[in-house]
Symmetry: C2
Subunit: 496 residues, 2 copies
């Protein structure tokens, strides 16, 4: 057994280290790479991906893992680790090599087509590529073959253990509540007179950079283990244990660079809090993207859009940017609720509606009730139903997100899951930490960081996401906490 375990550890380590080198290739591509290096970069990334995939599906590794499981002698973390690895290997091995290559080719062709379709506002350019990807995704789901809805086999890749059956009623409930809440907000007097004036315009990038650095440090990202660079879209990546990087961007919205940094810092803090002794095995990672997103949303929404938080930061912003207006005005701008076409620019109330729209479309694409050809029409119909209006351009509609062109189907729900988890976590923290509001209003976040590390980060992927949340909050995914939080918060802001 010892020999098999050592072998499995070595193989896992190689797969993870190849992934880390590949993460650097991606990070560099988004930050510093010369544009002329793109062809070579594609070659480099695809080689490292292939080498990792070959190792993951290697028959010797599979045999060793099976022997270990059959031995019945595995205990503790080793047992969990081998079981988890076994699941991942099975998933990889179920998909034929030709399918992997076909998908990788389809994705390669699809990216430029998506960009071209956006430029020309023409769905027809993207349609055949998305059709190909959806067909491959359906085939993939069949290869994987989890029980229940076909979509489960895709969702599972991002949200281990979650099913469409579990999600659907939660999303239905959430959708109903959000639409109800929006009616109240939109019917309020405050809503009718609201205007955004303080947070848009041209603001010093030097000052923004200082705030970005400062807030990341306060949240707990040290200089030794993290850095912040610029990229078109903000993201977080772990290059290796002790080397986690986030990016941001400066836009006309003053809150963009700051808010995105608070968000990405949450992701980064999670990565930095993973168990070091599992850095080279499957337990040293998050169990799901939803749980990962709970960490970023926790900081971005629950902390970063709170009154307490801005009690600390508003005077500093006001001074640095010479803002005209008082705290209440600013706090309302931070939490401005307004309908919009764009998911990533959305406020807390609208956000999950964007996600649910995509979830419903993905479900339909996979079970065949929605065709790729009809997708723009379906998109607009759902926008009308949920938001009450239709995007003026397909660029803001069915061509909005990059995810599908990258072959990511089943990914979107994790955004809403994380958002709901975040509210649940905040509730649990607030119940335990009586001085929470006061600490936040003094810009002191260290105890929050310690709490998150102890309740979430340190477990790595030892438990499934829902189990982690259950252990901390007494209950798994539960929309009611988020709904309650939104109603209370926006009830006060909009006065109903």
């Amino acid at each position: 057994m010892k020999g098999d375990l050592d072998f499995v550890r070595e193989q896992q380590k190689e797969i993870i280290v190849l992934g880390q080198a590949n993460a650097l290739l991606s990070w560099d591509q988004e930050t510093y790479m010369c544009s002329g290096g793109i062809d070579a970069r594609a070659m480099q990334s695809s080689l490292l991906s292939r080498l990792a995939h070959e190792r993951m599906t290697d028959a010797k590794l599979f045999a060793a893992v099976n022997r270990l499981l059959d031995s019945g002698r595995l205990k503790g973390d080793d047992k969990i680790m081998i079981e988890k690895l076994h699941k991942y290997i099975l998933r990889s091995r179920k998909i034929p090599k030709e399918h992997v290559e076909a998908m990788s080719h389809a994705v390669m062709m699809s990216g430029p087509a998506w960009r071209d379709a956006r430029r020309k506002q023409d769905w027809k350019i993207f349609e055949p590529h998305l059709k190909k990807i959806i067909d491959l995704k359906i085939a993939q789901a069949k290869y994987i073959g989890l029980s229940g809805h076909l979509y489960n086999s895709l969702l599972d890749e991002f949200e281990d253990g979650m099913t469409a059956e579990q999600l659907k009623p939660i999303f239905e409930r959430l959708k109903f509540e959000l639409v109800e809440l929006l009616k109240k907000i939109e019917g309020s007097a405050n809503y009718k007179k609201q205007r955004r004036v303080m947070s848009v315009g041209k603001f010093s990038e030097t000052e923004q950079r200082k705030f970005v650095d400062g807030v990341a440090r306060r949240i707990g990202l040290g200089e030794k283990n993290s850095r912040i660079d610029l990229s078109e879209h903000p993201f977080t990546t772990k290059i290796g244990y002790g080397d986690v990087r986030i990016t941001t961007a400066f836009r006309r919205d003053l809150l963009f660079s700051f808010g995105s940094t608070v968000h990405e810092s949450g992701h980064a803090l999670y990565e930095l809090g993973m168990p070091k002794n599992h850095q080279y095995d499957v337990l040293g990672d998050s169990p799901s993207l939803g749980l990962h997103e709970s960490q970023s949303r926790f900081w971005e929404n629950m902390i970063g859009k709170s009154r307490s938080f801005w009690k600390f930061y508003f005077p500093r912003f006001k001074k640095a940017y010479n803002l005209k207006g008082d705290f209440e005005k600013w706090y309302r701008e931070v939490n401005f609720v307004e309908p919009g076409f764009i998911r990533i620019e959305s406020d807390e109330v609208h956000y999950c509606l964007h996600v649910i729209l995509r979830f419903e479309i993905e479900m339909g694409l996979i079970d065949g009730t929605i065709s790729v050809r009809d997708l723009p029409t379906v998109w607009n119909a759902k926008m009308k139903e949920l938001f009450g209006f239709v995007p003026s351009s397909i660029v803001d509609g069915a061509l909005q997100d990059v995810h599908w062109s990258m072959g990511s189907v089943g990914y979107f729900p994790t955004y809403a899951i994380g958002t709901m988890y975040a509210a649940q976590l905040y509730g649990a923290l607030a119940a335990e930490y009586s001085g929470l509001d006061k600490a936040i209003s003094k810009g002191k976040f260290d105890k929050i960081g310690v709490w998150l590390q102890d309740r979430i980060h340190k477990h790595g992927s030892k438990y499934l996401a829902d189990e982690v949340i259950r252990r901390v909050c007494g209950k798994g995914l539960d929309p009611s906490v988020y709904v309650k939080y939104l109603n209370e918060k926006f009830g006060k802001i909009y006065g109903f």
Copy 2:
């Protein structure tokens, strides 16, 4: 044969692509990596190195290459490529795996010891590590077993085709001439009254950055295919075809960032000029480090320290930095000859003496006539002989360079070889290009770039370095051109 050739091409490509990914890991380590990422980085680099080495020494590759050679049907570039690859494979296969691991371990331990020894100015800390490395290098040379001096087997790794027997008389001649020239310089009235005042102090880094960017663009590095970052020591690295990066650093010497950029731009221009159709085989690389250095030295010395060059740049420098003094004074400062302990800060006249000192020591270490224990004493004796003085600290003496701690023995000569080649190339260019001086004085370097590309870069490693130079200059490595150039240039400056 077709099947073997395809297989060999695929394998070569993987080796090269793995090397490129590894180049990015190194570049990042020197520029942006979080310090906390160092352990993970060591793991990443060593995995990619091992995967490349496994492929290089793979029995199937060796067999395919041998079959291709035996077939007698290879032609043109394919023939040269396979023969060269065969040589590289043979060299790799001659060294046992255990030796490679022992060397990699010795180097890993040696770096921190070298830095610690420098901090504490204590040779004893580094001595056992260097002893280990030298013993391994002697073993390595024996495994490789080229004819002639044992040193040839080490030199060959960096300077394919060059031998100690060829180099020794050239270096003897050069040493004699340089010492003679130094006597004349040091005896001159100009030397006695010289002082460096214009180029040292505190200068705006923003302005320096502008000059650095500007001169790299003029030399021919486009934004699409190159970038300039900061690192402790300047270097050039190719991440992939069309993605070449250089670094610089800002120091008290105003000429440091500028001169190092001119130097590294020469390296980068060479990499960018390599034949694209050989980007994934051994012909798409330089045949030797000496030829590579000829390109950097060409720009740094022959162009970047010339009167014509400063006719263009001095007025700009004067204005940007508010310099006090005239052109003649500045030109003399650019070409200031002064004894110093540090190789990389050395002027054109002293530079090769530093190299020859190291070459003589390396030869002695490898043939056993110099012991690692006595190295500091030997170093100082040779300094006394060549320079007339002894470094006050071992940090400026035997502990000066990082190379030996990295296991690079046989590398130093390439610096002097490149320096001599550069002078030969400049002679050939000047003979062909009548408007050369005028173009340089107008900051116009495009024709120079085209000439270098046509005469040097485009060949990749199709010919050995000395053959490339012979084809352009009518003669291989020849110290007399460099000696003549130095005598004429410094005769004018120092007035003899």
